[in-house]
């Protein structure tokens, strides 16, 4: 798909003749259009492009946020690659991503499938209901979850003791913190992804299912042979967006267990580490370097996911 249709064009003056003068006159001719689209580009240049370039510059500087910047060579990057806490943060982030994304996307698919089924009543209500967590304030959610997973007085432990089980000190264990954070992510994003899947499901032509039925395919067969292949680009999209989002988890662990990532740093994600080093410990140059490290990681990881989901041969 996607090859743009080329209409036979009227013969035009060949492009190579175009000079600088010509370009500027082209610009001048379309000045109103350019003016109309300029606000986005201006805002992007100021609030997007400049900070990105500046952080690149900053990552080679030593700067406490107030004093003078001094050139630091690649020392920031060297410190990052040799800092065990950075690698711990990378590991934590990957683990939390795995704990959260796989169950999240799977349940989103199930939810979407159910919402698409003809026997479900009040579909709009459920769609809104599932989407609602996504627009809830993240800090409020984190505070609520912190009382759910609280070590001694949490809701979860209350339920455990009701059933005669021993309470678990969730936030005193690395896995407990990561589980709690993953749970928050799942709760928040299932509905969002379900809505996207739902749109995908509805775009699959019903004739395919009808044809399969006539050929004697079972429900499961048509799910795996028709639904999944047709949803593949949508799944790819959700995997990539949740990779980018998952690599940037910050608020959940910060509100849940604090700037240090809690006991043994179980909730120390890459962004939390970046925040701590830059804004708590005043290493702004180093924080920028970590930001670029994270950029590389996300790019690699997205590429990996892309290859995985696309499968061989389809690229």
């Amino acid at each position: 798909m996607g090859e743009p249709l080329r209409q036979p064009l009227e013969p035009r003056t060949p492009y190579p003749a175009a000079t600088k003068r010509k370009l500027s006159s082209e610009l001048w001719k379309h000045r109103k259009e350019y003016l109309a689209i300029s606000p986005f580009y201006l805002l992007f240049a100021v609030f997007g492009l400049f900070p990105i370039l500046f952080s690149m510059y900053l990552s080679f500087q030593r700067w406490d946020g107030i004093g003078v910047m001094t050139f630091n060579g690649v020392n920031n990057y060297r410190f990052m690659l040799t800092d065990p806490e950075f690698w711990k943060a990378v590991g934590n982030t990957l683990l939390i991503w795995i704990y959260s994304t796989i169950p999240m996307l799977f349940s989103a698919l199930v939810v979407a499938f159910l919402l698409n089924a003809s026997f479900v009543k009040f579909r709009t209500f459920f769609r809104i209901g599932y989407f609602l967590p996504n627009v809830t304030s993240l800090v409020a959610v984190s505070i609520v979850f912190s009382t759910v997973f609280s070590n001694n007085y949490g809701l979860l432990n209350y339920i455990f003791t009701l059933f005669g089980l021993d309470p678990v000190e969730w936030l005193n264990h690395t896995w407990g913190i990561q589980l709690a954070v993953s749970f928050m992510v799942i709760w928040r994003w299932v509905g969002y992804n379900a809505v996207i899947y739902l749109a995908g499901l509805q775009s699959i032509p019903t004739v395919l299912y009808e044809a399969a039925k006539i050929d004697g395919a079972s429900g499961i067969q048509s799910f795996f042979r028709i639904t999944l292949p047709n949803l593949r680009p949508i799944i790819l999209f959700t995997v990539i967006t949740s990779t980018i989002g998952g690599m940037q988890i910050f608020t959940e662990p910060q509100v849940l267990v604090g700037n240090d990532g809690g006991v043994n740093g179980g909730g120390l994600t890459i962004v939390l580490y970046l925040y701590r080093e830059a804004f708590i410990n005043n290493y702004f140059g180093y924080g920028s370097a970590v930001g670029w490290g994270m950029f590389v990681l996300i790019a690699l990881f997205s590429l990996f996911n892309w290859k995985m989901v696309q499968g061989k041969g389809t690229m």
Binding site: D64, S146, S150, N151, N152, Y153, L171, N281, Y283
Partner: protein, 417 residues
Amino acid sequence: MGKTRMYIFWLLIVVFMVSGCSSNSSNPNQKTLTLWYWNRGLDDKLIQAVQKQFPDVRINAQKIGGDFKSKLKTTLAAGSNGPDIVAFNDWVTELFPSADRFYDLYELGAKDIEPDYLDWKWQFGVTPEGKMIAMPIDTGPTALFYREDLFSQAGLPTDPEEVHKQMGTWEDYFKAGEKLQQSLGNKVKLTDNIGGIYTQINAQSDKIYFDKKDDFIGESSDSSMKKAWDLAVQASQMGLIANANSFTSEWNAAMNNGKIASFVGAVWCKQILMDAAPDTAGKWRVARAPGGDGNNGGSFLAIMKTSKHPKESFEVMKWLMNPENQVTAFKDINLFPSATQALDAPVMKEKEDFFGGQSTGEIFTESARNVKPAYFGSKYANLNGIVTRELQSVALGKDPNTAWAAALKRVKKELLR
């Protein structure tokens, strides 16, 4: 035809912008001072009274919400348009390397009022080079908060003076804690968390991580770093710690449910405790802390170098922080004074119902008078973070020697950055 209209439009915009910049005051000599502080950092009523006290000054007080420190840093980095007067918390020492961004208050006449303030608090705002960048607002003297009823059930002394006599050192306090936990069937822990003990012991010391040359002294025998570490580890190994991080919902619940019998904290913990543990009203008392008096927290005022009115700013600060007004601020919003005269005010001795009719002010004023001046260094918070992280893993079973080695290694790496 559109063109003329456009010109008028732009002209109007310019006129509005220009007129918006000029002050519309009736007094032509009036100077506007911008002040940055945070909610409850200063007494709002006093700030409003500045206008009456100084007819030539219009004060533009802005409460900066959210992350105050990073907003201040952003402003400092931008280099202009900052406030005239700015409040700092106890992270003032992090700003020492940038001391030239602030007026030296000694040059504006601060020497004259120096004797009015607690010396250790005053020194807190003076750089090792002798530049005074910040003047005291409030202090956070520390003391032992304890549950009188639980101490009594465990057969421990209950009178604040007796408590201090029998638990004058941390070792004695821990011993008493063992007795307390045994007699109460191990349902109550002596204190809240390991990091708290470590931080409080350092807060009682005059030598922590750095000397005034900013050399690391944590490994020398007269620094409190290792002592504090060892005592904190000891408390953990004796099982005296509830592992409830300070001021979390966990901590609040443990306090309210009577699971924690005592903790060493600053005077501002009073308000937090009252809000966290309403069910325990009347059962708490305060005694002088084991190990000596210390300070934790307390804020400052400084004048930025970009200010055009340093003299006026200093006059306003001086007035805001004079002993009388410190008493007012204590009455209004519980800012604990830093001026010695204010500590003697009768209002400091009022009885408090939450503390069973005890006048805790007597304990805290005494503590405030006896704090030793300490130098924290610009990397105090970084180092404290590293060490308390390791201590937390000790509390959950990591070998203390391994943890100490790891902490020292990380600290040294940090010092080389």
